[in-house]
């Protein structure tokens, strides 16, 4: 068919690197080299990308099971590019901060590279089935990383995550099959472009059951309340690079899927079932937010906080207008970078002190000023301080969600102004804005407990952040600041991909 998409190389590089490591290459060097060249390749591709054109670019297609309409289609639009950037950047950072035990570090790096290949493949897929398969490819090494190289009660955590995520994946698969079956006989395909085209012409019925399957399938993968309890435990046990890759990138798969597939295909079902989703969002933001406040350990606190932040993205999705969806998409990136940075620093702290209990830590900014500064940046990015990309995306979600769904955009709010009654999504937005207080409470408390206060004697000789981890941390912060100052660059990239119907 067509020429080979350059996106294929993004997937192949980590895979080839994994093979090389397996064959006995120097695992750390090979992994670093592969993930760095992947990021560079992506940036080169980005310069060739034409954001003004709608639709996917760099498309290549190979039939896999043509009878079923399954094809190996790669391609990228603005939204995928943002996600690919996130994937490659976080992979590089994760490899840079990785410190596996020496005896079997080979398999550790192979697992990281496999996750990387999986997420890149998922975000570069245009075929929905392929998209699903790549996600599964990335999940398995994640479980292994938690179960084998994790800390604490790692077996139980890996188990729980497996049960939840496998269930979620299964429900998702049912939903995707449903989506396939909704298409008219003889014209069925897993090609996303085909599906959206059919939906636009009204040939796919707006079926609420399929939507629910997709919502809960994708939702469980993103720790939608109340299917979130696996996440804090898994992230607490996972080694830092695994937590970075999963919480930062892989988990975004579910929301990406919702924005990509459900938003254009099931707008009416989303509208009809909005109350249910809104209740769950309040659960994600307020309930989980207060649970986060109660945590006494940095790793579980970060795990819960990442669950909480998913609520904002769900809210952006639920409101279904350009502003809110753009905000949600940008938050995929901003949260991914922030949480990756936080987990990286969390790993650095654990590496040095062996504990993450707030009660045992304190004052270590004096011993490790760079680590303290970096964590300060990360905490501020996480609470949505202006200047970081997180603020811009939160702001878009708030503004977008407050006007509600597009059909009623101005009319509804004008009506609200006349009789002064908020509709349900506005009330949920108000709850979400209260989230900025909640996140400030737990983040600043963590910073206070770990880095500020008098320095106990036993932590006075901790080594400071140095070497590659330091470079990775600086780069992550730099990216967050850059897009925080110039969010419009991302908006221009993402909006054309969202403006389908």
């Amino acid at each position: 068919m067509s020429t080979v998409s350059p996106l294929l190389f993004l997937i192949l590089i980590p895979l080839v690197a994994a093979v090389l490591v397996m064959l006995g290459g120097k695992s750390r060097t090979v992994s670093l080299f592969a993930s760095a060249s992947n990021l560079i390749l992506l940036l080169v591709l980005a310069t060739k990308f034409r954001p003004s054109e709608a639709g996917f670019q760099f498309v290549s297609s190979f039939p896999v099971v043509p009878q079923l309409g399954i094809n190996f289609i790669l391609g990228a639009d603005g939204l995928s590019f943002v996600m690919l950037f996130l994937s490659t950047a976080v992979t590089l950072a994760a490899v840079a901060v990785a410190r596996p035990p020496v005896e079997n570090d080979r398999w550790f790096y192979i697992s990281l590279l496999m996750i990387s290949a999986g997420v890149i493949g998922a975000f570069a897929s245009v075929d929905v089935f392929l998209f699903y398969m790549f996600h599964e490819l990335a999940l398995i090494p994640t479980f292994l990383l938690i179960g084998i190289w994790g800390s604490g009660d790692r077996q139980a955590a890996a188990w729980k995550a497996t049960i939840y995520l496998a269930t979620g994946s299964f429900v998702l698969l049912l939903g995707l099959i449903g989506l396939y079956l909704l298409q008219p006989l003889g014209d069925r395909s897993f090609d996303l472009r085909h599906i959206i085209q059919l939906a636009e012409t009204g040939l796919i019925p707006d079926n609420p059951i399929v939507y629910l399957l997709l919502l809960f399938g994708f939702g469980t993968l993103v720790s939608l309340f109340p299917f979130h309890t696996w996440a804090p435990q898994a992230y607490a046990s996972a080694p830092a690079p695994a937590a970075m890759l999963h919480a930062g990138v892989l988990k975004k798969f579910g929301l990406y899927g919702l924005i990509r597939i459900c938003a254009p295909v099931f707008p009416e079902s989303i509208q009809a079932l909005l109350p249910l989703l809104l209740v769950l969002i309040v659960g994600n933001i307020l309930y989980v937010g207060y649970v986060t406040i109660a945590q006494r350990k940095l790793d579980t606190m970060l795990g819960y906080s990442s669950v909480m932040h998913m609520g904002y993205i769900f809210l952006g999705f639920a409101a279904l207008n350009v502003v809110s969806l753009t905000g949600a998409s940008l938050m995929l990136l901003s949260h991914g970078l922030t949480v990756a940075l936080l987990f990286a620093l969390c790993g650095e702290i654990r590496e040095r002190t062996g504990t993450l209990e707030f009660s045992e830590l304190g004052g270590i900014a004096r011993a490790t000023p760079r680590l303290g500064l970096a964590f300060g940046f990360a905490a501020m990015a996480s609470v949505g301080l202006p200047g970081f990309i997180g603020f811009a995306s939160e702001l878009m979600v708030f503004f977008g969600a407050f006007v509600g769904q597009p059909t009623e955009m101005r009319g509804q709010t004008a009506a609200a102004a006349e009789v002064f009654r908020f509709n349900s999504i506005q009330i949920v937005t108000i709850c979400a804005v209260w989230g900025i207080v909640i996140s400030a409470i737990y983040m600043l408390r963590a910073y206070r407990k770990i880095f500020m206060g008098p320095l106990p004697e036993r932590w006075s000789r901790l080594p400071d952040l140095a070497g590659l981890p330091r470079v990775a941390v600086v780069l992550l912060i730099g990216v967050m600041l850059f897009y925080g100052f110039f969010p419009q660059l991302l908006v221009n990239l993402v909006t054309p991909a969202l403006l389908q119907p």
Binding site: T229, V288, A294, R366, M380, A392, F398, I436, P454
Partner: protein
């Protein structure tokens, strides 16, 4: 230099200074202080220059976010009389405090970090002053919050400083919660966040009046947080944990006044929402009285001034609520910035002389040891307490006059607060500078270097004289109430309050060895802090622990124990994990990779 570029230079030179200090400041203390002072002085010079320009070119604005007509957010400049006056206040006082800081911080650790923080603060503050829309103001609003957090926590190894910074940030965020909602409400009613757009859209607004009232009160919540009005005032006294120049610049003269400035900026909107203004007036009036009560029983020289700041901010907020224009509140903001900044600088000078002792009962007799400091303190004190013909006398009395006309109860309350003001500040004065030295340090106290004294002496001039009619008319167009309408009793009452308060303080404290008065209710700050402490620890903390427990044991259980739906999943997972050897995993990986390669390469 044009009136178009000058504001941008004023705004961004402190940011440039902050970044430079952050990057290269560690090489030289002098360099970091120099960069900070240079940027502030540039801003100061340009602000005065701008102030004298009568013609102002149309201002630029840069696009930050653009979704078309529904939502466009810019970073742009407003340059009108209001922002010009505020620019003068902020840059001039910043320059003086920066210079003072070189003396105050000379032996302190984190010298460069301190100046980077100050420069960041100045940038954020100028952003608020120059903002041409609500979102931009909110952005810089949050940034002053974080610079305040950094500066309060300067001595971060001290538990109290670390806690104070955290508390300040969180309490401000509670105010910001309302502020953000208010912006959302105003935006969804008018479709714009730009001040110019709002000002033209709101007067013709045809919705429910209660909608606008709610929106304005929510926006006002931002002021309640930032300007430490009751009930969100608790963070300000604790913020005194920061170095004294920070208390002086941020927590007295400029940052806390940002809330008042914001109200002045949206005053044309408030004018059409009388209910909101009444609420604002009540909050301000009650704050100014209660904070003055609390100040009368504090013993820490900086905390007395902190409660005094809350009280004076209350006057300004009251002024927004009752006066016919925003100039009256801004006038008090202007004079207060001068005299309160001066008082803090003097207090800092005393503290350095006392080796960082802040309990005034360990001082005493400092009038001979630090005479210049005392003179400066007196200048600030007279202005604060409303001594006739000092700056505070003109600005405070004007607000009280309007308040008595509009809401008599609040007016008389504010007048009574003026008496308390005279009392608490004279109390501090007598205890610190008179009597006998009550400690070792007090006996060996010494005067401070020129770098600290000069800024104080410069500030003493406007503190005393800025209120004089021939000076104030250059800055403000004030409206005075009709002389016949004001109750005849008011002015004699105010004189009585000043002399009564000062006299009573002299009587009780002139030679006091320890506090002859003890009112636990005031000393314990009306127990408001304790209520918060109880709420945060017991209600919020307890509640979240219960939720956390439920999350661990109930939610999980309910979800997992829906077995009919999950049996298959367990089986699936079991099969997957129980193979359990690394070779098996390796086999799966290998198989997967090979399979994928096969798929990719076979067309």
């Amino acid at each position: 230099m044009s009136t178009q570029t000058a504001p941008w230079i004023i705004l961004f030179s402190p940011l440039a200074a902050a970044v430079l200090i952050f990057l290269i400041g560690r090489f030289s203390k002098t360099l970091s202080a120099g960069l900070a002072i240079l940027s502030a002085a540039t801003g100061c010079f340009l602000s005065w220059w701008l102030f004298r320009q009568t013609e102002v070119a149309p201002q630029l604005s840069l696009e930050w976010l653009n979704f078309g007509p529904e939502l466009t957010i810019t970073i742009g400049i407003t340059l009108d009389h209001l922002s010009k006056v505020m620019l003068l206040v902020v840059t001039t006082i910043s320059t003086l405090v920066f210079i003072y800081s070189t003396g105050y911080m000379r032996d302190e650790e984190g010298y460069t970090r301190f100046f980077a923080g100050l420069s960041l603060f100045l940038f954020s503050m100028l952003g608020i002053v120059l903002a041409d829309n609500f979102v931009m103001m909110f952005i810089f609003w949050e940034l002053v919050g974080v610079s305040s957090y950094i500066l309060i926590g300067h001595y971060y190894s001290k538990d109290s400083a670390a806690d104070a910074g955290k508390q300040a940030f969180i309490v401000n965020r509670i105010g910001d919660f309302g502020f953000m909602l208010g912006i959302l409400l105003l935006w969804s009613a008018t479709g714009t966040v730009a001040f110019s757009g709002l000002l033209s859209a709101i007067p013709g607004f045809e919705g429910a009046p209660v909608y606008l009232t709610v929106a304005c009160v929510l926006v006002f919540m931002g002021t309640v947080g930032k300007s430490a009005q009751m009930p969100l005032h608790v963070w300000l006294p604790n913020s005194m944990e920061g170095p004294t120049p920070v208390s002086s610049l941020l927590h007295a003269a400029t940052m806390v006044a940002a809330g008042v400035y914001m109200l002045a900026r949206i005053f044309p909107i408030l004018e059409v929402v009388p209910d909101a203004r009444e609420i604002i007036a009540w909050v301000g009036g009650i704050t100014c009285f209660c904070a003055a009560l609390m100040a009368t029983q504090q013993n820490d020289i900086k905390r007395i001034l902190a409660y005094s700041t809350i009280s004076q901010l209350g006057y300004m907020v009251l002024g927004i609520g009752v006066a016919p224009t925003s100039s009256e509140a801004m006038f008090h903001l202007f004079t207060h910035a001068c005299f309160k900044c001066l008082l803090f600088l003097a207090a800092g000078s005393v503290m350095i002389a006392m080796h960082h002792e802040t309990d005034m009962w360990h001082m005493g007799g400092l009038r001979k040891k630090t005479p210049v400091t005392m003179i400066c303190f007196i200048a600030g004190m007279l202005a604060l307490s409303g001594c006739p013909f000092t700056s505070g006398y003109f600005s405070k009395d004007l607000i009280i006059e309007w308040a008595v006309l509009k809401i008599p109860f609040l007016g008389w309350l504010a007048a009574a607060a003026a008496g308390l003001t005279a009392f608490y500040i004279f109390r501090e004065f007598f205890v610190v500078f008179f009597g006998k030295a009550r400690s070792e340090h007090a006996e060996h106290a010494h005067e401070q270097p020129v770098s600290m004294l000069v800024p104080m002496l410069i500030l003493a001039v406007p503190a005393l004289f800025a209120g004089l009619p021939m000076i104030q008319e250059h800055f403000f167009t004030l409206s005075h109430p009709d002389a016949h309408a004001v109750p005849h009793l008011l002015h004699p009452f105010l004189y009585a309050m000043f002399f009564g308060g000062a006299g009573l303080a002299a009587l009780l404290y002139f030679k006091a060895e320890k506090d002859p008065v003890s009112i636990p209710l005031f000393a314990n700050r009306l127990y408001i802090d304790d209520v918060y402490f109880w709420f945060v620890n017991k209600i919020q903390g307890g509640g979240s622990i219960v939720l956390s427990w439920a999350d661990r044991w109930v939610v999980d259980l309910v979800i997992v124990q829906v077995p009919s739906k999950l049996t298959w999943a367990c089986g699936f997972a079991l099969r997957f994990l129980q193979i359990g050897s690394i070779q098996a995993y390796a086999f799966f990986f290998g198989a997967g990779v090979v399979g994928l390669l096969y798929i990719m390469l076979s067309k």
